[in-house]
Amino acid sequence: MKTFDYVIKDEIGIHARPAGNLAKKCKEFASVITIAKGEKEAGATKLMAVMGLGVKCGDTITVKAEGEDEDAAIEAVKEFLEANL
């Protein structure tokens, strides 16, 4: 399992569009990818669940990936977050 923390820099937080694009990105991998904010955790491919986390600017999220391509998955998510959020 691979994991990393990320602090959201986007002013609005994770809203519909980035959540959708993130879900799309995560579907490319076989690994199970989850995003957690505090106690709450959501499958990254579940758009509604991710939006339901209510991630705002300045929040820290923890991304986890588990599966055969977890290294690639975690890199891709990191890249996505840095470019978009």
Binding site: M48, M51, G52
Partner: protein, 638 residues
């Protein structure tokens, strides 16, 4: 318009197929992945007949062509470009390939064996009938006519490897006739029949691996797994050769090499090794279920239903076929029957005991179908939901299986259980009947005793409505049920009044492209969003411009008021609900100021998206143009 001409011009404008990585299409657009975008001549593209617009998004070059036309242009396009079609199915197949290897393997075995079940059932039923007849009229079995019928009754088992080889070749995407040849080689009449070898027939050595391991000239009658493995290898080899061998000689070189190499490896390596492995598996399974006094069968009968839940049961076909092929006695099937009818009986107890109409109307047919041998509705729809009936079914299945084992019940075919199982168990009618009765009775009684009817689940959610409303609600619920169990379409009502448009026409790539899911959009004429169905609010943004709602019918909706309205930070929006609220169809959700959105320079187009689109077969919009609130907007096909 001339589709081929348009396709040709598009191909030229993007810099010919050398510059094309992949091509797919959605309802309205060609979606191309381009190697070098600088080679694309956009102005030329835009002027191609039929092209309504061109833009780049998500790494794709999207060419808007329009519904009904895009697929035709696409067909010509991939033909001209010489690329393979990539469609939504590929994506789904890719998703399936993400399942763990053992699940894929079991699914593959199921896919191979299920299509040949009719052949086994036909001969098995005949076998059962002949068995019954010859016991009733002993002299009949000496007649030539009986001999003739006997041919029909075992042909499929005698030549089983050929059937399996053909089916496997189809699944592994090889040539099915070459597959058949591999099957034929394995049971060639010049080889000594494996059954005769068991009876003491002489064999000679065909081949020897370094003098250490002699390969005998024995056929593979009664083997299943070696055939599957051999054909798997054959298909891999064949497809590899098709790619490598120059086309001019492909027609004769590929089949020749395929059969030669596969045949040799099969007879000298794969066959002997996997036949041994298979006999261990079979011995293991057989000795497990024949532990004396019915103990083994009892255990298997108990865990059978959970293995159905896990999806492992497709593998049992292989065990049953091996048993049939070995001595025409399928002692697995009675255990399956015990487990299946027990689940049916457990569900029946639920059906008779419950006062919930919806549950009753589901449990009753589910139970009946379990008695006929199809258990999934009973297990998944009823028993697993409440757990206790599942356990009752496991106990009943265990008892029934124990009876079957003690009474030596066996079947002469596979693929049929439950009531129809009587037809293939004529040799042991009484035992099968007892198995059936014991399994059902025990499961029914235990389920009846353990399971307590629940109060209707919906009750605590609704805040105690007035009596008159209750009646109406019940009516509505009944209506909903009919919809759910009908031909499995779900209609999503429009949460807004206004002008309905296709999702692809929303002026935002993310929504238009369907990344978030399929659906429709409404350009509102009134600034009010209502609940399109009964459900729960899962998400409400602080800025109140987007609402997530989980509907009771299984659809997850995102209603996103306007485009980029997140920037308005909630100004002009007023919410009547909060996250976690239960809502009824028509409840007010959010009020918003259309003029304010327009004044801020944003589009008011409000996408209504089924975010779990992947869970359904299809999601389409029903209408465009003027819509009233709660008019039909989106259709979901399960």
């Amino acid at each position: 318009m001339d589709y081929r001409q348009s396709a040709k011009e598009i191909l030229e404008a993007i810099g010919t197929s050398g510059n094309l990585v992949s091509a797919a299409h959605c309802a309205t657009r060609l979606r191309l992945v381009i190697a070098d975008n600088s080679k694309v001549k956009k102005e030329v593209l835009e002027n191609v007949d039929g092209v309504k617009g061109v833009f780049e998004a998500q790494g794709q070059l999207q060419i808007i062509i329009g519904t009904g036309t895009v697929n035709k242009v696409y067909d010509e396009f991939i033909d001209l470009a010489g690329v393979a079609a990539a469609s939504k199915d590929d994506v789904k197949a890719a998703a399936a390939s993400k399942a763990p290897w053992y699940k894929r393997m079991i699914k593959t075995l199921g896919d191979i064996f299920v299509p040949i079940i009719p052949a086994i059932v036909a001969t098995g039923l005949l076998n059962g009938l002949l068995g019954g007849l010859s016991r009733a009229f002993p002299h009949l079995s000496d007649s030539y006519f009986f001999g003739l019928l006997n041919l029909f009754s075992n042909a499929a088992l005698v030549f089983l490897p050929i059937l399996i080889a053909v089916s496997a070749a189809k699944i592994f995407k090889g040539n099915i006739y070459l597959g058949a040849v591999i099957g034929m080689i394995m049971i060639h009449t010049d080889l000594v029949n494996a059954w005769s070898v068991g009876d003491g027939a002489e064999t000679t050595t065909l081949w020897s691996w370094f003098g250490l391991w002699d390969i005998q000239n024995t056929g593979y009658q009664g083997h299943v797994i070696p055939v599957v493995i051999a054909v798997f290898l054959m298909c891999k080899l064949e497809n590899w050769l098709h790619k490598k061998v120059p086309e001019v000689i492909d027609l004769f070189v590929t089949p020749l090499v395929t059969v030669l190499v596969t045949g040799f490896l099969t007879m000298t390596l794969i066959g002997p090794v996997f036949a041994t492995v298979e006999s261990w598996v079979l011995k293991g399974a057989t000795s497990l279920i024949t532990i004396p006094f019915g103990i083994g069968a009892f255990l298997m009968g108990a865990v059978y239903a959970p293995t159905v839940v896990a999806g492992v049961h497709h593998m049992y076909n292989a065990i049953e076929l091996s048993m049939l092929a070995a001595n025409n006695m399928n002692i697995w099937m009675p255990i399956a029957t015990a487990a299946n009818v027990a689940q049916g009986a457990a569900a029946l107890a639920v059906a008779l005991k419950t006062k919930q109409k919806k549950l009753k109307s589901m449990a009753l047919p589910a139970s009946l179908s379990a008695f006929l041998g199809i258990t999934e509705p009973a297990i998944f729809g009823v028993n697993l939901r409440f757990m206790k009936p599942l356990i009752a079914g496991m106990i009943g299945g265990a008892c029934g299986a124990a009876v079957a084992s003690i009474m030596n019940v066996y079947a002469t075919a596979n693929g049929v259980t439950g009531v129809f199982g009587f037809l293939i168990t004529t040799e042991s009618f009484v035992g099968y009947l007892l198995t059936f009765v014991v399994a059902s009775a025990v499961a029914f009684i235990v389920s009846w005793a353990l399971w307590q009817d629940e109060k209707p689940q919906e009750a605590p959610a609704a805040p105690a409505p007035a009596p008159a409303e209750v009646k109406e609600e019940v009516k509505e619920e009944v209506k909903e049920e009919v919809k759910e169990e009908g031909p499995s379409d779900i209609i999503i009502a429009s949460p807004l009044k206004g002008n309905a448009i296709a999702l692809a026409d929303v002026p935002d790539d993310t929504f238009a492209s369907g990344v978030l899911g399929q659906g429709a959009a409404v350009e509102p004429s009134e600034g009010l969003v209502v609940a399109p169905g009964d459900g729960e609010i899962t998400t409400l943004f602080d800025t109140k411009h987007a609402i997530g709602i989980q509907l009771d019918n299984g659809a997850e909706l995102l209603i996103h008021i306007g485009v980029n309205t997140v920037e308005m930070k909630g100004e002009g929006f007023e919410a009547f609900i909060k996250e976690g609220d239960k809502v009824k169809k028509g409840d007010k959700l959010v009020k918003f100021d259309i003029d304010k959105i327009k004044a801020s320079g944003y589009s008011t187009a409000t996408p209504v998206i089924v975010t779990n689109t992947d869970d359904f077969a299809d999601v389409t919009h029903v209408t465009t143009g003027s819509v009233e609130q709660l008019a039909d907007l989106v259709k979901i096909t399960k």
